[in-house]
C-alpha cells in the first residue's frame, strides 16, 4: 500500500525521530511511504481555542494537501482525531464538508492503522523492558483506540506490558490549556505521573508526543525515574 505520512507540526519541529520511526515500521512491512512537504499543521490549536474561522482555513488547506492519498498515517491520536472527528464538524455546511468526510475515512493513527487496517500485530520488534502504556485522551475517546497499541506491544519480543492504576486519566496537557491553566495542568500531570512512576517500569510508551512532553517534563522536574518512548520508536527498534 502507498502510505502518506501525516507529521503534525509538533512532531516536525520537536520529535522528528518519531516520524522517521513511523516510516521505518511501515517500510519494513513492505509499504511505500511518502511525505508531502506542503503539510503544516492540522489547525487544532485555533480550533480548541475557539477561533474556528482561522482553524477552518488551515483545515481546508490540509484537506487539499492530502488530496488523493490512499492512506494517511500519523504518530498521534490527537491530530488524527482533529482530522477525523472534528474536521467534519468544523466544515459542516461548507462546500468542503464532503471532502472533510472523505479525508476522515482515510486518516489513521499508527497503531490502529497497523492493527485494524493492516491486520498486523507482530512487526518483528524486540525491546526487552518493562513498559507501561499511556493512552492519549483523543486517541482513547475520540478514536476509540485502546487495544491496538497494547496488542502491538504485547507482540514485541522481550517486552513486558504493565498497566498503571490511573490508566484512563488524562496527563493534563490539553494544548494551550497547559499554559493557560498551568496550575491545573500540572496537578493533572502529577496524578498521572505518580501513577506511571508507581509501576516501576523502565519505560513509559505512548502514542502521543504531546502527552509525552507533558509527562516527561513533569517527571524529570520532580526526579521520577522514567524513560519515555513513542510506540513507533519501540516498533522500529529505535527506542533508546
Amino acid at each position: 500500500m502507498k502510505v502518506d505520512l501525516f507529521i503534525p507540526c509538533f512532531v516536525d519541529q520537536m520529535t522528528p525521530q518519531v516520524g522517521l520511526s513511523v516510516s521505518k515500521v511501515l517500510e519494513r512491512l513492505g509499504h511505500s511511504v511518502a511525505f508531502r512537504s506542503a503539510q503544516t499543521c492540522c489547525g487544532q490549536p485555533s480550533f480548541n481555542a475557539g477561533y474556528w474561522d482561522e482553524a477552518r482555513a488551515v483545515a481546508i488547506r490540509a484537506i487539499k494537501v492530502f488530496d488523493g492519498a490512499e492512506a494517511i498515517v500519523g504518530p498521534t491520536g490527537s491530530c488524527v482525531a482533529m482530522m477525523r472527528a472534528f474536521y467534519p464538524e468544523l466544515l459542516a455546511g461548507t462546500p468542503h464538508e464532503g471532502a472533510a468526510r472523505d479525508l476522515a475515512s482515510r486518516v489513521f493513527e499508527l497503531s490502529e492503522f497497523l492493527v485494524e487496517k493492516l491486520g498486523v500485530v507482530d512487526v518483528g520488534a524486540r525491546f526487552p523492558h518493562r513498559v507501561t502504556y499511556h493512552d492519549g485522551c483523543h486517541g482513547l475517546r475520540e478514536l476509540r483506540i485502546k487495544e491496538a497499541p497494547r496488542k502491538l506491544l504485547r507482540a514485541v519480543e522481550g517486552l513486558e506490558l504493565v498497566e498503571c492504576d490511573e490508566p484512563e486519566s488524562c496527563c493534563g496537557f490539553g494544548g494551550l490549556f497547559s499554559v493557560k491553566f498551568p496550575m491545573i495542568s500540572t496537578a493533572m500531570a502529577e496524578v498521572k505521573g505518580e501513577s506511571l512512576a508507581r509501576t516501576g517500569c523502565d519505560y513509559v510508551v505512548s502514542g502521543d508526543p504531546s502527552c509525552q512532553l507533558q509527562l516527561a517534563g513533569w517527571m524529570a522536574r520532580n526526579g521520577r525515574q522514567a524513560r519515555f518512548a513513542h510506540i513507533a520508536e519501540v516498533l522500529a527498534g529505535d527506542a533508546t
Binding site: I7, C9, V11, D12, Q13, M14, T15, P16, G19, L20, F35, S37, Q39, T40, C41, G43, P45, S46, F47, N48, A49, G50, Y51, W52, E54, A57, V58, R61, C137, H138, L140, R141, S169, C170, C171, G172, F173, G174, L176, F177, S178, V179, K180, F181, P182, M183, I184, S185, T186, A187, M188, A189, V191, L213, Q214, A216, G217, W218, A220, R221
Partner: protein, 473 residues
Amino acid sequence: MSAPESSGSGRARRKFLSDAESHVRDSGHRSFVRRTLTGYYSSRDTQKARYRSWEHARDAASLAKWSAVNRLDELLPQFVERFEANGGTVHWARTADEARAIVLELVAKAKASSIIKSKCMTSEEIHLNAALEDAGYGVVESDLGEFIQQLRGEPPYHFVFPCMHVRRDEISELFRERLGSAPTDSPEELTMIARRHLRQLYVDADIGISGANFLVAETGQVSITENEGNARLTVALPRVHIAISGIEKVVERLDDLAVLLPMLATAGAGQPMTCYNTLYAGPRRDGEPDGPDEMHLVLLDNARTALLADPEQRDALYCIRCGACLNVCPIFKNVGGFTYGTTYQGPIGSVITPHLRGLAEWSHLSGASSLCGACSDACPVRIDIHHHLLHNRRNAATSSPNRVEKMAHAAFRAVASRPALFALGGALFRKSYWALRRLPLPLLKGWLATRDLPAPPQRSFRQEWRRRAGRDG
C-alpha cells in the same frame, strides 16, 4: 446561542484562577477527594456490570430524554394538566427572581413559621435559602449532606455529594459544637445525631420544600429519589409541600423511569437503585391518612428555553444531575467543587453556567479543560459534554474575542498556510530556543515553572526527510 451580556467583568475568571492556584497546593485535600471517589469507582463498575448492556441502557436513557426534551412544548402542558387534575397547583417562573417571589408568597400565605427542606439543586440555583432567611423565615436542610453544609455555612461542594470534602472527624466536631453531641467516629452514629435533631423539626414545620427528579407527563406525578427517607418526611408531614423543578425534568411515560432511575443511581452513586423512589401525585385526598393539604410545583425556566432553542447544545437539558461527570473529571478532582463558583460544578456546570449566567463572564470554565472527554463517556444520557466546552469556547471567541488571541491565531493561520514560512518559523524557534527561555514570555514561563522542556532537535522532520531522500536518491 448568544450571551446575555457582551463582555464580562473578568471577576469570576480571576477568582477561579486564584482559587484553583491555592487549591492545587492543598495536596492533602486533593488526595482525600480522590480516595473518597475510589470506593465509588469500584461500586459503580460492579453495578454497571449487572446491566446486560450498559451502553444500550445509555442509548435508551438518552432516547427517553431526547424525546421528552424535543417535545417539551407538548409534554409540559400535558404534565401540568394531569398534575393539576391530581389536585396540585403549578406556578410558572421565568427567572430566579420570579421563582423566589412565588415561594415567598406561598410561605407568607401559609403563615408559616418553620420550613424544612430536602435536597434541591434548583433551590440552590435560585438562592432560595438566603431569600427565605432575609424574609425572616428559618429553613432547615434535612438531607444529611446539605444539613452539614448548612451548619458549615457553605454551599454544596458537589451537587450530589454536598459534603464529600469533609472528613468524618470534622463532622463529629461540627455536631459537637453546634448540636452538643458527644464526639464519635461512627458514620451511623453521626447520622443518628442528625436524625434525632431533625425529627422534631419535621413535625413542627408548616412547609416542606423539595426538588424533583422527574415529572411524569403520562400521570402528572413528581418523582423524587433519595437515600435517607428525609424527602418523604419533608413532603408528607408539613401542611404545605412546595416542589421546585426546572422545566426540563419532564419525561413522557412512567415506564421511562424504569431505565432512568436505576441509571441515575448507578452512574452517579454506584448504587443499583437509590434507596427511596417515590412518586407524588398531589396533596392528601379525602380518606388518605397522610400527606400535605396543599401541593405546589414551581416550574422554573431560568434560561432553559433559550438553551432549548440552541440545537447544538440542547442535549445539555437531558441532564439528570447524577454527578457521574464530576466524579470522573480530573479538573473537578484537582480544583475542588468550590473553585467553580457555580451552583452546578464540574463538566456539566462548565457547559450550562454560561447559559444560565452569561457566556462572557463564565466562558473561562469551558477553557479550563484538557478536553479529555471522561465526562461524556460517563454520562448516562450521552450528553456531548466535552464537545460543548469547545462550542462555548467558539461562541465566546466569536461574541467577545480577545484581541491579542485573535491576532495570534490569525498570524498562526498565515504561517500555517505557507509551508516555507512555516519551516522558517520552526527553524527560528529551534535556533533561538535558549534565548526564548530567558525572555519574559508568560506562556513559556507557565510551562517552565513546573515542567522541563527538552531542547529542540537540530533538524526538523522535513529536513531529515529531505536528507534521507538525498542519501537514497
